[in-house]
Amino acid sequence: MILYDYILSPSCYRVRLMAALLGAEMTSRPVDFHPGREHLSPEMLALNPAGTIPVLTDGSLTLRDSTAMLSYLAAGHDPEWLGEDTPAMRATVAQWLAFSQRLTSSAGAARAHDMLHGPGDIDVLRRAATLALRELEAAISAQRRRGMIFLAGPRPTIADIACFPHVALAPDGGLPLDPYPSIRLWMREIRALDGFIEMPGIHRLHELKPEPGPMPDIRQTRTTRDPKQNA
């Protein structure tokens, strides 16, 4: 399996993170996206006429959409991540995968504008990203009232991994996450998953390193809390 990859791309990071969480083996083939614009080279356009990265190849299979890559990796390594317990859960996952495209074209484009001289009207991009972030905040907040935090149910799915990178990197595009407490708790849960890997701009949880002496178990605290106590 070869991932045509760029270290600063949130969409490539989606796939790297999913593979790391699943323990899937993958070879990274770096693409000189910036400043070299190699994603628009004849070789890369032959692989993906849309001129986007990442691209994932596995034998004769070529995938050009990062959410399709998440599905492929999850189905092959641990189908629990697909979130197919019920028809409703399955549809919810599909809906968040589509939503993640809105994050790419708003928060992702704002970041590319602010960091790498990317194109676009920054005010329009930030307004669209803010609407998406508010929608996500409301949804996670509703999940928390049900005693959960992940987008499609009681455990993380490919929906969470699809949305996480562009949300976590939103401050790079001038979109601070201070107004979104539920989003920040959700990000913390994702960063605490076994096998989590970082990318530039997304740091690991230093505070979760082993400390001398007893440490409160934050997962324990979450799962044992009775949601009715808040009512």
Binding site: Y6, I7, L8, P30, V31, D32, H34, P35, G36, E38, D114, M115, L116, H117, P171, D172, G174, P200, G201, R204, H206
Partner: protein, 280 residues
């Protein structure tokens, strides 16, 4: 804010390889500039199409919005055979251009920001090093800097104690020299060229001259982009936004000697665009 003595200094405004016929608009010390190809040669104009002096060196287009008081600084290693010259490309940061340089001069943050690459806990000690202003060339130099690094460069395998020298050769340009893992007797050259757009916004153009025959050019570019973008969010959150040149706002420690020398040198030369001069 008056631009002062910084008006007469040299600044990078783009990659030579990235200049086009149609050109690109940018800013330099708050003044609108345009970078374009004029008969196949890169040219830069300021406000009212005022032509600005141009130098083509170290992969970048250089210009000066005023009257250059001295030639563009020399990096002799750029001409040494066997080195790979790496144009890393731009990264825009919402911070003072002086803060971008100051962060580059700091070693103590390596284990915490570039964890497991340029530093790692518990190897956090910055040992004693020497800092001075070389009067003959009017540059800040830090020498005999040593730091333990788990992966000092793309070509490094396993942890090594890396030797460093730092040099500030212009108000927004710094060059660091570090042990070259494949050529232990030589220094790898890593430069940070900063284009001050405004006092709180800059385009950073890292550039390198390395001994490394194995890594692909893309790998070398990505390694440096990885390192710099790890710094970016830290830089955008530093307060106050302007770099304080007077004591009181920030308390330096021994590890910050280079930063202290840099600030003194800026103040002495009147390089205050992006700086704050009020004592707390």
């Amino acid at each position: 804010m008056s631009v002062g003595a910084m008006k007469d200094q040299w600044y990078p405004v783009g990659l030579i390889s990235g200049v086009t016929e149609e050109g690109r608009d940018s800013l330099l010390l708050g003044e609108p500039i345009r970078i374009f190809l004029d008969g196949g040669t890169p040219a830069v104009t300021g406000e009212g199409e005022r032509p600005l002096p141009v130098e083509l060196r170290y992969g970048h287009v250089w210009t000066c919005p005023g009257t250059p008081t001295r030639p563009l600084f020399d990096i002799p290693e750029a001409d040494q055979l066997g080195r790979r010259l790496v144009d890393v490309g731009v990264c825009r940061v919402r911070c003072s251009p002086l803060r971008a340089v100051e962060n580059f001069l700091d070693i103590a943050h390596f284990p915490f920001v570039h964890t497991d690459i340029l530093g790692s806990e518990p190897h956090t000690e910055v040992t004693r090093y020497e800092v001075g202003i070389r009067e003959d060339v009017d540059e800040v130099w830090a020498t005999k800097v040593q730091f333990f690094q788990p992966q000092a460069a793309k070509s490094a395998e396993g942890g090594i104690t890396t030797d460093y020298m730092y040099r500030v050769c212009a108000p927004t340009c710094s060059v660091l020299y570090k042990t070259s893992p494949p050529m232990p007797g030589e220094w790898d050259v890593i430069a940070l060229f900063v284009q001050p757009l405004t006092e709180t916004l800059c385009d950073v153009w890292p550039w390198m001259a390395l001994y490394d025959d194995d890594a692909s050019m893309t790998d070398l570019i990505h390694f440096q982009q990885l390192i710099f973008v790890q710094d970016r969010s830290v830089l955008e959150n530093q307060l106050p936004a302007l770099l304080p040149l007077d004591p009181g706002m920030e308390i330096p420690t021994r590890a910050d000697l280079t930063s202290v020398a840099y600030r003194r040198w800026l103040k002495r030369n009147g390089f205050t665009y992006g700086a704050q001069l009020v004592a707390a």
